[in-house]
């Protein structure tokens, strides 16, 4: 019996050789504190998520969304400008894909929240133009087909996309200024 107890003690020494927790009681203390912190973190995260989901968009939030979309359109436009040998094809396709995800996130942020009545029109514009931007990026992230690659279609596609991106960027910037005046 006593040899069993001493074997357990020596096992405990091996397993808990560090300063803290040294024994079962201290280990339970750590577990309780960890659970309490996790619970608190979960409650705070849930509360923040709920308030984020239920927030009513004001001019400031819409302005931020429009500014983000303008920035994405400019960035995509730059990548298209550099497409002619300045950036690798892999980079252009992969980056357009990443930008598309960001645009989708921004658009769904605007579409899934309440908007103040006087800002409905601006929100609608952000949503529709954001969708256009997303479609252009989706097209840009598609690898060119063999025929695209060998004829001028790919260059024409990029040229069209570049022009549309330029228009969208101007439009988002105009919207941004309108919303700034609303603030």
């Amino acid at each position: 019996m006593s040899s069993g107890k001493s074997a357990r003690n020596s096992l405990q020494e091996v397993e808990f050789s560090w300063p803290y927790p040294k024994n079962k009681e201290e280990l339970i203390q750590v577990a309780m504190v960890t659970l309490a912190v996790l619970f608190l973190g979960l409650v705070i995260t849930a509360a923040r998520f709920t308030s984020y989901k239920n927030q009513t968009l004001d001019a400031k939030s819409l302005k931020q969304s429009a500014a983000n979309l303008a920035s994405f359109a400019t960035e995509a436009g730059q990548t298209v400008t550099y497409a002619d040998g300045e950036v690798t094809q892999n980079y252009r396709l992969a980056h357009a894909e990443e930008l598309e995800k960001q645009v989708e996130d921004t658009v769904s942020f605007v579409e899934t929240r309440h908007v103040r009545p006087n800002l409905q029109k601006a929100a609608g514009q952000i949503s529709s133009q954001g969708r256009q931007l997303s479609n252009i990026l989706s097209e840009l992230s598609e690898p060119p087909t063999e025929s695209d690659h060998t004829n001028k279609e790919e260059a024409a596609k990029l040229h069209r996309a570049g022009q549309s991106l330029q228009n969208l960027q101007t439009s988002f910037e105009r919207l941004n200024k309108q919303l700034e005046a609303e603030q």
């Binding site: 050789s17 560090w18 300063p19 803290y20 927790p21 040294k22 750590v30 931020q64 500014a67 983000n68 303008a70 920035s71 400019t74 960035e75 730059q78 990548t79 550099y82 040998g85 300045e86 950036v87 690798t88 094809q89 892999n90 980079y91 396709l93 992969a94 980056h95 990443e98 930008l99 960001q102 690898p143 910037e173």
Partner: protein, 408 residues
């Protein structure tokens, strides 16, 4: 001559890991939003990491003690455990963000799906750590991470075309909510430069490389010039970003946006050099965070540790860094955005900063422990001043994160 050459290589090697995904995110966004006016925050953070890096290396060389050796003996047990647990949570989150960053760059380079590249990145890092000796690991990432200097060269090349507003060294015309955003980026830049894993890795690396009292001056030069070279690379990103993104009205929210600043100056070559520099610098940081976590745990628990030992002699240490890398890869596989994760990791790391830096200062000024290599008056004054700055940054970071919605 051979010694100078070795020192120069050591300095270049220390670049790998200094500019991590957190630095890349904060510096590119800071330059795009506020031009040069946040360079002071980078300089402030760099001087801090030089001072504390030097102290931690000196303590390792003279007293043969790492950060967690000191924490284990100096802190009350509960506080020591809390520091170890919190620092390792931050290490794992940072490592996850770094692995995500490596996967993003591989995705941009190869076009293969990002999710597929996460395990590839993790396994690649494990293979490098497993097969290379410790001294070579640091060198591989350091030498290949030197490509980041392309941003500094791009900034010099594009300086004349930069918008005048972006070149102001002090903030100008910032008002209202922008003041909070400015403060968030200042705190973020200081925190990203002073990430605690850097001193965990640096002091343990000193033990790994068998530093002795005679290496104290090499440690001083390495910490000052090594972190300095890293800071120049980071300053280059701020400047290139200020010249290019500020003018275009682009706020870089993706890791893949940052190399565009080099494209404007050097075209496809600039893009490739920038991406390779980012790949190895972020990869180096992933290795450092995984090692830092394993060092902390092993030193706290009193296990035998060190990559210079064969894995069979240090099984718990080896399992620790392997588990950290696998856990980090699993976290990022869930679909978390590495850029958002790194911002949270950087900001939350400030909580653990005072607990990490205090024992270094205490040990470095302890005459009984350090003998003739104890802190001088200048090191004590700067160390104390920086400890106050670190506490202030720690107090401000989390409220600013929520008030500014991550600087948006």
């Amino acid at each position: 001559m051979k010694k100078i050459f070795g020192l120069a290589l050591g300095i270049i090697a220390s670049l790998g890991g200094f500019v991590d995904i957190g630095d890349l995110v904060f510096t590119a966004q800071a330059g795009a939003k506020f031009g040069y006016s946040l360079l002071w925050a980078l300089a402030l953070g760099t001087l801090g990491i030089m001072i504390y890096g030097e102290m931690s290396g000196r303590v390792a060389a003279v007293a043969k003690k790492t950060v967690f050796d000191i924490i284990r003996t100096e802190y009350p047990p509960k506080l020591g455990f809390f520091t170890m647990a919190l620092s390792n949570i931050v290490n794992v989150l940072t490592c996850a963000a770094e692995i995500g960053g490596v996967a993003i760059i591989l995705h941009l380079l190869s076009g293969y799906p990002y999710r597929l590249l996460i395990p590839v990145a993790a396994l690649g890092l494990i293979a490098i750590i497993w097969f290379l000796p410790f001294s070579k690991i640091e060198k591989v990432f350091g030498y290949l991470g030197v490509g980041l200097v392309v941003f500094l060269i791009a900034a010099i090349k594009t300086h004349s075309g930069a918008p005048h507003d972006a070149l102001r060294l002090m903030p100008h015309g910032i008002q209202g909510e922008d003041i909070l955003t400015y403060a968030y980026f200042a705190v973020g830049l200081i925190a990203a430069t002073l990430m605690p894993y850097e001193v965990y890795f640096y002091s343990s690396g000193g033990i790994e490389e068998g530093w002795k009292k005679s290496d104290v001056s090499t440690n001083r030069i390495n910490s000052i010039l090594g972190f300095g070279v890293g800071a120049f690379a980071a300053a280059g990103i701020i400047a290139a970003s200020a010249h290019y993104f500020y003018k275009q009205g682009i706020t870089p929210q993706l890791l893949g946006t940052t190399p565009l600043a080099a494209v404007s100056a050097f075209g496809k070559i600039g893009l490739l050099v920038a991406m390779l520099g980012m790949l190895f610098s972020i990869g180096g940081s992933a290795v450092e965070t995984a090692f830092a976590g394993a060092y902390n745990l092993s030193q706290y628990a009193g296990w035998k540790w060190g990559r210079h030992n064969p894995p069979r002699d240090t099984p718990r240490f080896t399992w620790s860094w392997l588990i950290i890398l696998f856990a980090a890869a699993a976290i990022i596989m869930t679909g978390l955005d590495p850029v958002a994760l790194t911002e949270y990791a950087v900001i939350f790391s400030v909580v653990v900063m005072p607990l990490t830096y205090y024992p270094i200062l205490k040990a470095a000024r302890d005459k009984r422990l350090m003998g003739e290599h104890v802190n001088g008056r200048l090191a004590n004054t700067l160390g104390t001043a920086y400890f106050i700055i670190i506490c202030l940054v720690a107090t401000a970071a989390i409220p600013l994160l929520f008030l500014t919605n991550r600087g948006q």
